[in-house]
Symmetry: C2
Subunit: 491 residues, 2 copies
Amino acid sequence: MPSPELLAKLGELSDLRHAGLLLMWDQQVTMPPAGAAARGPVMGTLETLAHDRLIAPELGALLDAEGDGDGDDPQIVRAVRRERDIACRVPSELATEMALAGSEGFATWLRAREANDYSIFEPALRRNVELARRYAGCFPDNEHPYDALLDRFEPSMTAAQVSALFMRLRGGLVPLLAEIAEQPAPAPLSGIFPTDAQREFGLQIVRVMGFEDSAWRLDDAVHPFAASPSLADVRVTSRFEEHSLIGLFALMHEVGHGLYERNIDPALARTTLDTGVSLGVHESQSRLWENLVGRSEPFWSFWLPKLRERMPETLGGIELHDFLRAINAVSPTLIRVEADELTYCLHVIVRFELELALIEGTLDTADLPRAWAAKMQELLGIDVPDDLQGVLQDVHWSEGIIGYFPTYAIGNVLAAQLWSRLRADLPNLDDDLRRGDPSELLTWLKDTIHRHGCRLTPAELIEQAVGGPLDPDPMLAHLSAKYRALYGLPA
Amino acid sequence: MPSPELLAKLGELSDLRHAGLLLMWDQQVTMPPAGAAARGPVMGTLETLAHDRLIAPELGALLDAEGDGDGDDPQIVRAVRRERDIACRVPSELATEMALAGSEGFATWLRAREANDYSIFEPALRRNVELARRYAGCFPDNEHPYDALLDRFEPSMTAAQVSALFMRLRGGLVPLLAEIAEQPAPAPLSGIFPTDAQREFGLQIVRVMGFEDSAWRLDDAVHPFAASPSLADVRVTSRFEEHSLIGLFALMHEVGHGLYERNIDPALARTTLDTGVSLGVHESQSRLWENLVGRSEPFWSFWLPKLRERMPETLGGIELHDFLRAINAVSPTLIRVEADELTYCLHVIVRFELELALIEGTLDTADLPRAWAAKMQELLGIDVPDDLQGVLQDVHWSEGIIGYFPTYAIGNVLAAQLWSRLRADLPNLDDDLRRGDPSELLTWLKDTIHRHGCRLTPAELIEQAVGGPLDPDPMLAHLSAKYRALYGLPA
């Protein structure tokens, strides 16, 4: 293990981050609205203090004293050193400017949404793009300026790798979507699904997944998310709506994130390595539970009878086959967060390609709505009627978060790779799910992914888990097989 | 106003404290139980960082640069300087040792309560007393070692002042209690008071007092408390029980605390002066609403009909006079937090006299249960059957909090002084309360107490508010008049 002095410094850094996480959770879940104005500075102070401690020469000296980290847990030193090196490259003034522009951008974005008018938001976005380019400029050795932005969320992944990956996704998804579009749409679920019953049913499902009442909580949030102030304090949120079951899938998604954090090796607590290693890997966990488990036939063959009992009026007569068709219906939508399993990645690709052009300087922010509309037409075949259903829908860019979107698709891709691998290791998985028992699956994920925290790099973790790098083929194969069967297309 | 540099430092300090406050609130209200172990270090780190910043030479230099503080707001400099001077007198090792002993003491106290055995707790208390004496030793100029301990909660108040005040309280309360004890006890309220109805009714009351849904929240807590992470984010708690209405009074009490913080001059936000000036003054606000408003005839002449409507089965037939007798019944109890308005201060005096003896060294912790029993017999005339209903009942000493108890009685005394003064200023107050309208009262309290935050010292604030120092006579007169009327004793 690193020296006690180094561990003490990492403990403080970790404590500041965990406090910040709790403040963020509180802001979205429990804070009275009038508390918002005063909350910003408090969160800003915690971030600044954490950043100051990360770049402090004292921490550098303690890391240097560890040498090549040939002690018990050299990964701790390696991971902290990497994070510190990056933080030290960015001038404090720039970091502060970015934080400020992000918080102002968010406020401007809210106003622009109110007016459904991108032109209100455009100057703020222009500023965020400019700052992102300055940030990228701090890393002149990178192949592409986008690499530095992506690295904040998906360490060591490059724009070139994402482009190559997405090119193959496009190639597989777009033709499949075209085929499906010619088939009759499945009948949607309709009627009232009482939110209390959904919440209770959702809790019943996630308790089997690993949600323990003593260490977890479930709350409502407008935009569902998960946050873990510590490894034994996991908070998930969902949004249950009485006209749809989408909140159930959102809950399984967030519990997938929560399980990752909950099962990290406790020895990593307060080392700053006690968190998911990248957003893509995190998303692989949430998507795996939401889609590969939660929209599958074996899963619902166990749970549908129970759901029917809870909601006899709306679901009493539904057949498993029709239920599965309804929850897996494919239909291009304008809004990313409402997208189905197949079209979701296309939304991500739209954003990635636009981000890349903004950062390269080949697209001006003034032209963004037009470019957005063209991409939506090209990839999803739909028209964008206004800014609210187009370029103003996502919060990310308003806060200066550029380089984040690709991680959503990386998560889907990795989830399918993991699924393919774990099905080979767990030949009885379908039977287990038909009995409502995902415990072997959870054990596999704990052992393969969760426990490592940030000890392995994302690339090492993926290599070790699936025996190779990111590969879109398992996802394309999964989607093709699933949707061809559901829509009665030739295999 | 102080220099921008000084204000920036105070802003950071303030942010750290507000974050700590939110973590404390979360720990008691929302945190899953398994999160407890990891929460301690996070709160400890925030406290240490705040303490380090308070004693840092940079802050000292910025305060020195303000000179005699002849700027716009010299009270800010004065208040921070005082707090810093005290913090600088205490060696960091001692502060750390006290924090650690407090947290271990709390755990030991829980175990001792489990076993109903003081001897388990005794070594931890011995250690806390010893540390408190070492803390007091850092202030050798004080008249009495207890002064330094009291000062942490009631700045500039001395043991001698508290002793003199409490002597007069004893003199007035003990004979009155003896007279009442000979009268027949009023019939208690009985039946089921549904907790949901109590909560709704309580909210109806406190919304009229000033609880705004946009800036406040109400939650359940085992030990009700109030906490304000910022001036527009006020969190109160209560505990509603179906066999009693005590949760309603606890709610009014906590909202009294909340109103104080909510109405501090917003210009004091992030200066560290945006909080109540002392625990005694804070308690005057909670007690005023709980007892002087909340147990009065004018108040219930408006609210009782509404409560009867909500709980027709239990309260449908009750007369105002009988209701008032029931909620004001005097009966010596073993447990402080269950005490009535008259005997409450006697519980405080028991604890103060024991604390004083422990700190002076004339009482050994090994003899505490015997001394406790003797004092309870002397002041309240009752026998203490076991440790749980005696010396193990309060959490304070377990955490090393010595010098705090007097502030409860100071609050009661000051509340009566304020009440006496404001009744002269607001001749229509009883009529207002009979119409359910406490707005003039709130305006008076805002103007006289709340807005000042820590700009005035407690002594200055009290002098300005009531035209003199703390004085027990208004409280003794109030209690005598009230209880003689309720119990049919000669005036």
